[in-house]
Structures are given as C-alpha cells and as structure tokens.
Subunit: 219 residues, 2 copies
DNA sequence: GTTGTAAGATAGTGCCGGTATCCACGTTGT
DNA sequence: ACAACGTGGATACCGGCACTATCTTACAAC
C-alpha cells in the first residue's frame, strides 16, 4: 500500500504519517521506484501502536522513537524491551527521590516478593518520588501499610495481565500486544477506579435525588 | 505572608504564582494597601494542591481553574465537587463513544451495582471510548468478563479509599485531601501495577543473570 | 529622603506536535 | 502520446500552552 492508503487505514492525517517517517518512528517503506514506496501490514500495526501510545498514553514523540527503536531491535529479549518501554512511558519527568522514600518503596517490594524489579527501574524511582511528595508538607501520608495494600491489588492485576497475554504469537506481535495493552488497560483500570469512587462516595454521603440532581447541603 | 513568601514556601517560582493569580487559579490575597496584599495558609494549601494536580496529574491550567472554582463554590456539596473534579482531571480530550461500547460499559456498571454513577460522567464516556478503541482494528479486545474483573479490583480499591478519607475535618480541607489523594494515589497504583508487571513477566519468561543482564535470546 | 521590594500589567519565550507548501517526477486514464 | 494527478521527499511555518521577563508605580522600612 502507498502512504496515503496507510494514513487513511490508520485514520491518521497524511502529514502526520510523513512526520512520523521523518522522525524515524515508522520505518521507511520499501522503495519501488524513485518516487514510490510500498508499505505493508507491519507499518499499519506499528502506526496504530504509536497512535495508541500517543493519544491514550500521552507518550511524547521523543519517547515514541525510543519505543520504536526498542521494538525493532531484534537482539533485545521481549522482557528487555518491555522494561525499556515501561521506563519510557512512565508519566512525568525524571526526578530524584530521597533515600528514605526509596527505602520505603524497597520495603514494599520486599514484602511483595517482587525481586524481579530492577533497582534502576524508572517506576521504582518515580514511586519513591511520589512517596516523598506524600510525606512532605501536605495533608496526606504514605505508610508502608497502605502502600502494601495497594501493592497487593496491583499484584493481582499484574499477575492476571501477564497470564492473559497470548504467548503463542511471534515476537513483534506479542510486543505490540503487550505495549498497547499495558497503557490502555492501565487507563481502563484508572477510569474504573474513578467510577468506583463516584459510586461509593455517593453511597457514603447520602443519596441525591433519583433524577440526578444533588442536594445543596454539604455532605 | 506576602506573595514572595507564599511562592517560596510552596517552592514555586514567584512568576508562576503571579501567573496563577492572574489566571484566577488562586484567590487574590487580602489587599492591605494599594501595593500590598496578604496571603494565608489557605492560599498555601491551595497552591500546593494545584501544583500536585499539575505536576503529578498533568492537569491543564484551564482545567485547574475549573477545579479551583468548584472548590471555592460553597453551595456545592462535597460529592458534587468531587464529580466535577473527576470529570475535569480525566485524561485525554472529550471524545464521543459509540452506543455499543456504552452498552458494554453500562453492563459492567450494572454487574458491579454501581448505580451511583451519573450517566454523563466523563469517566463513563471515556471508558466507553476506550472500549471501542480496544474492539477496533487492533489485536486487543475488551470482553465484559475481563472488564468486570478489572472493575472488581477497582471496587476494592475505591471502597478502601473512600473509607480511608478522614471525614471529620472541614469541607475545604476534606476536599483538598480527596482531590490530591485521588490523583496521586491513582499514580501510585499505576506505578505499582507496572512494577508488578516487571516482576511477574520476568518470572514467567525465565530469570536473567543475577547481575542484571538479560539473555539475548527472545523469551 | 533613600533604597528595596511589592503589586500589577504587558509582552515575550521555548517547546512540542503537528501542518502547509513546494518540487521534480512517475503513474494512470484516455 | 500526453496531460492531469498524486507521490516521495524536503523545508518552512503555525498554534497552543505554560511560563518568564520586563517595566511601571508606589509604598514600607530604615
């Protein structure tokens, strides 16, 4: 297929596809002539993955390139690629965490038996940064207990998700499945959590009118 | 305290505080003279909340203003404010969802007994949009079963979080606690989920060398 | 009084994710 | 054969966003 068809099939503006090609996010098509290039299903799938990460996950174009490079590097193991992707799609900028919070995080990791986590994992560092934020001047705190409770639920979810992955398909397809699944199901869960808040908080603070209006009194 | 002190105490550049004042995110201080205004702890707490939402939650300044307005509107109930905030801090742009996906979502909500969710809840609509994305051309699908599994875990989390909130404090403090808690604990959970992936996926695909290197073979 | 700094307003900056335009040429319909 | 269209490829441009810098005026503390 030609670029324009690729763009149309992925429902992405042609100019954007060209931009992605320029930026090296998308491998160039097979040139069939001086002003002609052919793209295949691989490109289409890749493009869809990139758009998912960008639109749902909010991943920056710079980081998308890193992801694309990792996906294309056949010398990396699947797990290796996944850790790299996890580092790169982690929200927020790189921040440093104080050692005290890192200790808290490591204690939680230890309690869960999560010894497969790399010490340099971005998620570990970011979590520590959040913990120190929580334990800072604000009204909230992050105790080992509540963190471990959270980790327990996260463990169930992560287990289930890892088990759900179809490991029979080949590398590239598997990776695409895992990468997109990771970001979109992350958001699915977050939305469900918010919906849960909405329901349970409503139940707790007394039911509003059935027509959907809300009492004006405070709680 | 004066603006400069406010800025310093919240660890925010003075120029940014002025910007927030300009944008109406932060109520003006009490004017004690033509070129003098006094700020108090309320302003400081508000500023901290805003920075949390912005830096951790990635909430845009426009939406921050909506949040601030809702927090200041004393005629709104706590629950009312929280739903508004939930709508506004939901990630991604407003999108339309096809009725079919909405039905899927509603079925899940029904299965959970979450009848406290407003039909116009942003989260409900966004979730439907995600579901239609998942059931689109990509390799992933969103069955009622897995969504309900997710919702079950989300329910546990949401219950616990609602129960954890300290309902004895007064309105403004309560709201600040809930708003910030919602966004930062959301992220805490997401990070833990990713860490869980890292561990469980590593366990599943065979342990790499203990020195942290990874085998070069694919899985 | 002098000096330092506050408040308030206005204009400018840097980045990011595209978007638009242009060109030279191959493909295609007739 | 020939003209019109659309292609790959390159370069320049744009709009939004979150700040940031500067400038003016005036008061407060010494």
């Amino acid at each position: 297929m030609l670029v324009s068809e690729l763009a149309e099939r992925a429902d992405v503006p042609l100019a954007t596809v060209k931009y992605y090609l320029r930026e090296g996010l998308l491998p160039a098509g097979e040139t069939t002539g001086p002003r002609r290039a052919e793209y295949d299903e691989c490109h289409l799938r890749r493009l869809r993955v990139l758009r998912m990460l960008r639109e749902v996950g909010g991943v920056s174009v710079t980081n998308l390139r890193l992801v694309a490079d990792a996906l294309d590097d056949e010398t990396r193991s699947v797990h290796d690629v996944m850790t790299l992707v996890a580092d790169v799609i982690a929200p927020g900028p790189t921040i440093e965490a104080d050692p005290e919070s890192l200790d808290v995080v490591d204690e939680v990791l230890g309690a869960m038996g999560w010894d497969g986590v790399r010490p340099q994992s971005m998620d570990r560092l970011r979590l520590a940064a959040l913990v120190s934020l929580l334990n800072g001047p604000g009204p909230l705190g992050a105790s080992i207990e509540v963190l471990t409770y959270y980790a327990g639920l996260a463990d169930q979810l992560a287990r289930a998700e890892v088990a759900l992955v179809d490991h029979t398909v080949e590398r590239s397809e598997l990776l695409e499945q895992m990468v997109t699944g990771s970001v979109v199901y992350g958001q699915v869960f977050e939305l469900l959590r918010q919906l849960g808040h909405e329901h349970h908080h409503q139940v707790r603070t007394g039911a509003p009118q059935p027509d959907g209006t809300v009492p004006t009194a405070h709680a």
